[in-house]
Symmetry: C2
Subunit: 210 residues, 2 copies
């Protein structure tokens, strides 16, 4: 029985690459691909693969969120995260949301097959490179920010002062200051500059195509 594999990635070239890597594997069945989260969910309502290879960055929502939704609705499907970046914060978030593995886009055919075969057995697969960098800074966990804190954080990065933020979201400047202090403590950062840097590194602010 071939393993049914589905891909969610908005990069046509990557989808083609994976298809080409997997087409000669006889115990793998290519069931299709989606370019965004919505059409992935639509596909799953029709049929369910054994494994989904899921990009972290999707146009409509992050793979991290999609991973959670898929796992809630279809717990039997195993998900392997797919990304260009070997970044601890992504990987951790992805695994926290139920992914069973994480493969970089520079993985070889062999690595990809190892991952698929291992994950389908219910085990966890992390490529050497990934697990090494996870161990390297295993203390570096992602801080948990509240709704309001995230909101204030992005406004800070926009260059707004406490007073401006206060006016914008209709709270007093003191409250903004409190949120700011909590952010500095949680991240943890020594000042605004480092706070913004960490916000980028932990993906609280996106480096998108604006």
């Amino acid at each position: 029985m071939a393993i049914k594999v589905f891909i969610v990635d908005d990069h046509y070239m990557v989808v083609e690459g994976i298809r080409s890597l997997l087409q000669n594997e006889k115990n793998v069945e290519w069931t299709g691909h989606a370019m965004n989260a919505d059409s992935c969910l639509a596909f799953l309502r029709q049929q369910q693969p054994d494994i989904i290879l899921m990009d972290i960055n999707l146009p409509d929502k992050s793979g991290i969120d999609l991973c959670k939704e898929v796992k809630e609705a279809y717990p039997q499907i195993f998900i392997i995260g797919l990304s260009t970046f070997n970044q601890q914060s992504f990987i951790q978030k992805m695994m926290d949301n139920g992914a069973s593995g994480y493969v970089l886009k520079n993985a070889t055919q062999q690595e990809l097959m190892e991952a698929i075969e291992m994950v389908v057995k219910g085990k966890t697969y992390l490529s050497d490179e990934v697990s090494r960098s996870l161990r390297r800074n295993e203390d570096d966990t992602i801080p948990v920010l509240t709704r309001r804190e995230k909101e204030v954080l992005v406004l800070i990065a926009e260059g707004m002062t406490n007073n401006e933020i206060a006016e914008k979201i209709f709270i007093s400047a003191s409250t903004v200051d409190t949120h700011r202090k909590n952010l500095l403590a949680k991240m943890p950062a020594r000042n605004t500059a480092e706070l913004v840097k960490l916000a980028f590194q932990h993906k609280f602010i996106k480096l998108d195509d604006k």
Copy 2:
């Protein structure tokens, strides 16, 4: 006469994808690929393709720098930038360094072929999406920072104060302050927070796999 195409990309899946997209094109000849800048340059000493598809992010040096080097040594080779991100700053830097086109990794086979055929004639190709986003903010050019300014910028993002930076790089705090002011004026940012944000967006600070 088939167009000789060479790829420089460290993502195996992308290389495979492009190979698969081009293999049925009879007026395109696949001459090989390199996974980093060094082996690309080594290849070029042996033979020269007509076109290089070049990823922006390479492990040893940025595609932006590689583009410049290749164009200096082999001006007859046309280079098409390749990236996941539709980001104005990358694109501009790449074109400034002699690239003839820019294609996103979500491009279709058709778009890729259009790009190759157009560029080989000496014209410039930018995908619709890219040129649209270039026009959208054509005023938004990348600031030119001096060596010292870049140096101070990354230290600021590390969370260091003027005094700390001054001690670290053996100049007075006043000088650091001057650099800081020039940075704020050049970027342009209203304060440190926005400065760090723009530093990320313009790739003066890298969001890499630390």
